[in-house]
């Protein structure tokens, strides 16, 4: 069975050690974490952790069941498919001299990014979007020269009923 990327999000008790319980479960059981992102919610007692994993369907089922078993995991939902909105933030430091500088600005414009830091030989670009969009922009920037890259990995929310 093919391994595919899956995004899952969970509400957890905002207590010390909870992230370690979640990540320890992945490492202990041989599951994969592509990205992980966590922060408190509007309720300071609850945090949201969003994880992207790569696994085949039976393994995804096992991951979800094992996560639900953790006493500190309050609620777990899949963020796959059209029922959810997913976004990722990337900060990209690009080397840019001479003519490349206008080229970079054009690319930033196409992807509705922002320049958040500029120097004589570099820009730092902020861009958000679905993973594919960010990847597409990185593919264009790559030949120009990516110096540094920081990505959050996907976060997301389930859409409310219309």
């Amino acid at each position: 069975m093919a391994e595919e990327k899956h995004v899952m999000t969970m509400l957890v008790d905002n207590q010390p050690g909870v992230t370690s319980r979640v990540t320890g479960l992945f490492s202990g059981k041989g599951f994969n974490i592509e990205s992980i992102c966590g922060c408190p919610t509007s309720d300071p007692g609850i945090s949201r952790i969003t994880i992207t994993t790569k696994a085949n369907p039976p393994v995804v089922e096992q991951i979800e069941k094992q996560l639900r078993k953790l006493v500190n995991v309050i609620k777990l939902r899949s963020l796959d498919g059209p029922k959810a909105v997913r976004r990722e933030l990337a900060l990209v430091c690009v080397q840019a001299r001479g003519e490349q500088r206008t080229e970079v600005l054009r690319i930033v414009d196409i992807f509705r990014g922002k320049i958040v830091d500029a120097g004589l030989e570099h820009f730092i670009i902020e861009v958000t979007g679905e993973e594919e969009k960010i990847q597409a922009m990185l593919n264009l920037l790559e030949p120009i020269g990516i110096k540094k890259l920081s990505r959050t990995g996907p976060i997301g929310l389930i859409r409310e009923p219309k």
């Binding site: 008790d13 010390p16 050690g17 370690s20 319980r21 320890g24 479960l25 202990g28 039976p58 089922e61 096992q62 069941k65 094992q66 639900r68 078993k69 006493v71 500190n72 995991v73 309050i74 609620k75």
Partner: protein, 561 residues
């Protein structure tokens, strides 16, 4: 009224029905031990913290209550890890209380400081570091609730010294609610109707029962279902006793060292009702060949057990006893059918497997280990509580001692933890002072927690330790013989104590048998005396456990005697 943390601990333990603790003192728990003197609770001082956890495990298994341990920080805490991991694999309800350095020293590499919550995270059902005395009562109540509810398991509570000495009020006891923890006891009715239909339709059904049946006290319902529907029952190692081993419908144990008829039945059945099991690799062998003709119904309280190793046709999440009760009720209401006629070919086939390949061994002039277990079974009339160490001794105990009741067979099933049997026997004997408790041991594994002999003598616990002494780490030796060209690497126990003298040195009784005709008199003497006894049965060294399924093979491919 404000109480100290130590006083709060004693109060909650009593609220939770605890009367006995297994433990070992130390600096970080000295205040708790001081309070223990005034508490009226019984404390069993073991000789090693691993022994405390195994003893609490044995106590929990035969009493059905939560086993409780109390140990100090640092090495006291780390010594509990093996015991906790064993209880975790076997879903045994424990509360393990560890001392911790004062909160202001945590993270400073203080004397006897260790991050035991971090260490035990993957081998506990849940664990806690208590940060304030005010949280202690709530956390302890949650710990007991988690340990005994749902799929039971060990819960560790780490108590810093200043939490034990600090003062706080105690909120009144009430129902424990943890918002994210709601085990499903009552299964989905639609699924159960499907199960009942499959039972009625099947021609070659079998039940595969595991430890979950025993933990949920579902044995009576299981027997009702099996007998009324004429369904043969195989059990996992952990399920021994869930269905009477001497019943004609019993197939015995299934898996790597299962009976021929169990393993054959599993591949020929058209319906497998798997109840309270987790399809361990020692049961299934090669998974794609396991129960390949059957529709599998899997009943378990832990959803993550279902479809973890084996695809199933009908998943049922729920308590085993309640599920079986509901299935029985559905079948009660169903139309009568020609059951005996329908089942006859299947039961005849099973009887044929049983008569062509019964469990067997060849007698010789030396003592055969299986013969010792058979004699223990006969002389205790099948009524003893049997604990085991791990390896060949464990498998022979599982094969040749038939358990007609649950909570009588106490073994480290999932973790396979050598050194389990003696401390577990101590815990079992404390839970059931009037019962005969026998530890079926090997000369290798008995030495892993032999120090607990002192505990047995100190508390006057008449446990009977039957060492099947083959001078080897027998199970590994067996693998080396069968699969590694008889290259015996490190499996000969080249130096062992004289177990009779060792028993005497501890103040216990030591007995030895070297010839088959000595076995019965030694056992009779051991069972007659109300003291701890070590019996050294010098057995045939190169005996193997059969049947045996090579690791990774289909379980129908058995090596036989």
């Amino acid at each position: 009224m404000q109480l100290t943390g130590a006083q709060i601990l004693m109060r909650v333990l009593k609220e939770e029905g605890v009367d006995t603790l297994f433990g070992y003192p130390g600096g970080a728990v000295i205040d708790i031990y001081d309070e223990l003197l005034r508490s009226g609770l019984r404390h069993i001082m073991v000789r090693h913290e691993q022994g405390a956890v195994h003893a609490a495990d044995g106590y929990a298994r035969v009493s059905g209550k939560v086993g409780v341990c109390l140990v100090t920080s640092g090495p006291g805490a780390t010594n509990t890890v093996t015991g906790i991991a064993s209880a975790h694999c076997d879903s045994i309800p424990l509360v393990v209380l560890t001392g911790q350095v004062p909160t202001h020293l945590i993270g400073n590499d203080a004397f006897q400081e260790v991050d035991i919550v971090g260490i035990t995270r993957p081998c506990t059902k849940h664990n806690y570091l208590v940060e304030s005395t005010a949280d202690l009562a709530r956390i302890l109540r949650e710990a007991f609730h988690l340990a005994r509810s749902g799929r039971p398991g060990p819960v560790l509570v780490d108590i810093p010294k200043n939490v034990a000495t600090g003062r706080a009020g105690v909120p009144p006891a009430g129902e424990v609610r943890i918002r994210s923890y709601n085990p499903t006891y009552r299964p989905n009715g639609k699924q159960l109707k499907e199960v009942a239909r499959l039972i009625r339709e099947s021609r070659r059904p079998m039940i595969f029962a595991g430890g979950g049946v025993i933990l949920s006290q579902g044995s009576t319902e299981l027997s009702r279902l099996a007998r009324r529907e004429q369904i043969p029952v195989a059990t996992s190692l952990m399920g021994l006793g869930a269905f009477p081993g001497s019943d004609p419908l019993s197939l015995g144990m299934i898996g790597m060292h299962g009976t021929y008829r169990s393993n054959m039945a599993s591949s020929a059945c058209d319906l497998m009702l798997a109840v309270g099991v987790r399809f361990d690799d020692r049961v299934t062998g090669r998974t794609d060949a396991f129960a390949a003709q059957a529709r599998i119904v899997h009943i378990d309280i832990d959803p993550s057990s279902i479809r973890k190793n084996i695809p199933v046709a009908v998943p049922v999440v729920g308590d085993c006893r309640i599920s079986l009760q509901m299935i029985n009720a559905l079948l009660d209401g169903g139309a009568a059918h020609e059951l005996a006629e329908r089942r006859r070919p299947w039961l005849e086939q099973i009887a044929a497997w049983k008569s062509t390949q019964p469990l067997a061994y060849r007698q010789c002039e030396r003592i055969k280990p299986q013969f010792v277990v058979e004699k223990i079974y006969a002389l205790t009339r099948g009524e003893a509580i049997v604990t085991t160490e791990v390896g060949q001794n464990q498998m022979w105990a599982a094969q040749y001692y038939l358990f007609d009741r649950p909570n009588r067979f106490v073994t480290s099933g999932g973790l396979g933890c050598m050194g389990f049997g003696l401390p577990a026997a101590i815990g079992a004997q404390i839970a059931c002072p009037e019962r005969t408790v026998v530890d079926i041991a090997g000369d290798g594994s008995i030495q892993m927690n032999i120090q607990e002999m002192a505990t047995a003598v100190q508390y006057d616990l008449p446990v009977k330790i039957a060492i099947l002494n083959n001078g080897h780490l027998g199970m590994v030796r067996q693998w080396q013989e069968l699969f590694y060209g008889k290259r015996y690497s490190a499996t000969r126990v080249e130096c062992a104590p004289d177990f009779v003298k060792l028993a005497e040195a501890y103040g216990a009784v030591g007995l030895r048998a070297t010839r088959p005709e000595e076995v019965e008199p030694v056992l009779q003497e051991a069972l007659a005396v109300r003291r701890p006894v070590i019996m050294d049965f010098v057995v045939e060294a190169e005996e193997c456990v059969y049947p045996m399924v090579p690791a990774g093979a289909p379980i129908t491919e058995m090596l036989l005697v």
